[in-house]
Amino acid sequence: MNFPLFPPAASTIAPQTDLLFIVLVAVSALVLAVIFIPTIYFLIKYRRGRRVDRRMPELPSFKIEVTWTLITLVIFLGLYAWASEVYLKIETPPADALELNVVGKQWMWKIEHPEGISEIDQLHIPIGQNVKLILASQDVIHSFFIPAFRVKEDVVPGRYTTEWFCATEPGTYHLFCSQYCGANHAQMIGQVIAMDPAAYQRWLTQKSPGVTLAQRGAKLFRDLGCSGCHMGNSIVHAPRLEGLYGKPVPLANGQVVVADDTYIRDCILTPQLRVPGGYPPVMPTFQGHVTEDELFQLTAYIKSLATATVEGGQP
């Protein structure tokens, strides 16, 4: 019979959290020894009926209490600082990451690659490259958990969350939904396939549908009528989207926000919330009219406009 003790470790984070885990096991073993060895010794030595010197010496009990409190505290603070440092790495996606979109819904994962490939319950990624997932939920809270990479993040409806990793070993790994999400929660599982970069490139070419995510977004942009105001010579005074993505936007209320995925999402779903300065608050909400999937397409399109310029000068 097989008694596995370690899950596969296949990301740059895994060795860091595993080292922490091993140290935690060692510290725990030490603490248990400090408790158990004297306990067992006392149980044997001071068993009722045994003749042994039981006269209690005058112990400096206050000093003893303060000593073991401080030792415990120092060990705890050390572990705290170490674990927090690694956590901040896990929580901070690097800037150069390949961005993939993930939609969780009862009970499947849909992954959108910028090249236009969609996958269900499978995630193909290249090893040796930072990958950032932008996670959205169509319904309830899910959680995107890849044990081999030691990463997990809840997928919360109504907002984007992110998760990143850099795979180190080619292979096929488990993908689990780890936040209870209803009847078929246990079926909301899939595979992460980490590939050599060359194999990944071949896979991309082979699977490419010929239409990128941004191009699908452009079509949707016209179909939903967004282009009527945000493009061409519209009579409605609406902000142009060329060159917008990633830039600071001064708002009507005086705040300045960066036009990132979350801002674009918010502008489509709750346009009155953060109106850009100088524009009337006339945009209708698309809440209930666009799916999380379509939001990703529209965002990809607006992203693709980041380097474009408006014909006629005004940036």
Binding site: I35, P157, R159
Partner: protein, 540 residues
Amino acid sequence: MNALQEKLAVEIPAEDYLHCEHGLKSWLLTKDHKRIGLLYLFSILFFFALAAFAAAMMRAELLTPKGDLLIPTDYNKMFTMHGVLMVWFFLIPSIPGVLGNFILPLMLGARDLAFPRLNLLSWYLFIIGGFMALHAIVIGGVDTGWTFYTPYSTTYSNTHVVEMAAGVFVAGFSSILTGLNFIITIHKMRAPGLTWFRLPLFVWSMYSTSLILVLATPVLAMTLTLMAVERIWHVGIFNPALGGDPVLFQHLFWFYSHPAVYIMILPGMGVASEIVTCFSRKKIFGYEFVAFSSIAIALLGFLVWGHHMFVSSMSAYAGAVFSLMSFLVAVPSAIKVFNWTMTLYKGSISLDTPMIYLLGFIALFAIGGLTGIFLACLAEDVHLHDTYFVIAHFHYIMVGGMVTTFMAGLHYWWPKITGRMYPEKLGQLAALILFGGFNLTFFPQYILGFLGMPRRYHAYPPEFQIYNVLSTAGASILAIGYLMPAFYLVWSLRNGKRAGPNPWGATGLEWKTSSPPPKHNFHETPVVTEDAYNYPPLID
């Protein structure tokens, strides 16, 4: 010796609390804290049996990787039933409701709690809440998990969420009233000479527990109300499609439910201090540190709720604060364990059943506490959160900690409650079986969690099977460990040896009155002139 016990038996006044009145009415309308304690005992054991049945169904399902015994929805209803009944209808009322009610006034030298009628109301609210929850289960059940996470609970679940939440809501008032009753009793009804620093540590732990019951439970009531409002009237509070925030629910829920974890362990710590001193014949080491660590746990426990939410999309910096607070709240628990160990030093240790349970508790609580440190470590929690590691961790605390000390306390005070001794050898055997079965059930789950098996899965990849088989095997042994006391304790009611007022030779006012105690506890008000656990000095 036997002759002496026979003599004591003859001297037991006929009007002890069990025999002074007869009939169902005398129980259901009693204002006697001792009888109410027994009402709680029967009720929580009833809910425990139902919740254990749900656990047995889950363990049977998990014997094989495929979901073959239960359909997914039924499995989900099983773990919801297990969680709701165990948390609110067994663990939270277990030691406070049964042992707290029975022993606390005796320890204080009081005739009863401050508000006996309110105490009876607490029990009725508990029973009404419990039957509302049972009703929700019988008419079809609930599949949200005991955590009722939104928006699943408010919008997507097609089960009887509001009915179940209403049951928990009503039972919450029972908690609040019991907490209030205990606080006032401890303040106002201590016997002459029983100053704060002469109180048995069980009283300190009940005081800390009561603080949490009174301060945290209202937040649970509000949270469940908000959830019901959204579910019934579609007011956008938690569902983002209605303009709400689903993570807000988690903040509110854990603001109650993390302190509630301490409701479920502080009483056990109190029992531990009573037993370790009695069976070592010694004063507790570091009385003030053990007493104040209970208060520290109760207060710090209110500031750690965010550690359930490190991967919930909460800010990383908020995570860092909650992680720090979680480390800090572990310090007073560690202090307690060190003090219990040190109390054994130069003691006169006798391994009676309560002491065996108690030693098992120290081991299991230490393991459960240390694995809590793993989860407080932010980077480690990212991997372990929502896996079986968490399940194993909190069962080591809830079952290894609370249930073990409940069993320890039940055996320790059984002679006081019933006037009879349980069979000692069987008791020791059951305690050992419980310890072994518990570890075999839950230790493999730590490994499962580290390997990545998520919780609340009725089906799982085949490589996880071996540890699930071990866990299910352990659960069968654990069941024997629970069933044995059920039989021999009932047997002892008629056939146990007469206990006499103080079979353990323990200190504490509860041992100064007859067993079972008379209706009003003491024939004359006791006067206290010494510290707690003032056992005579040991020489050899």
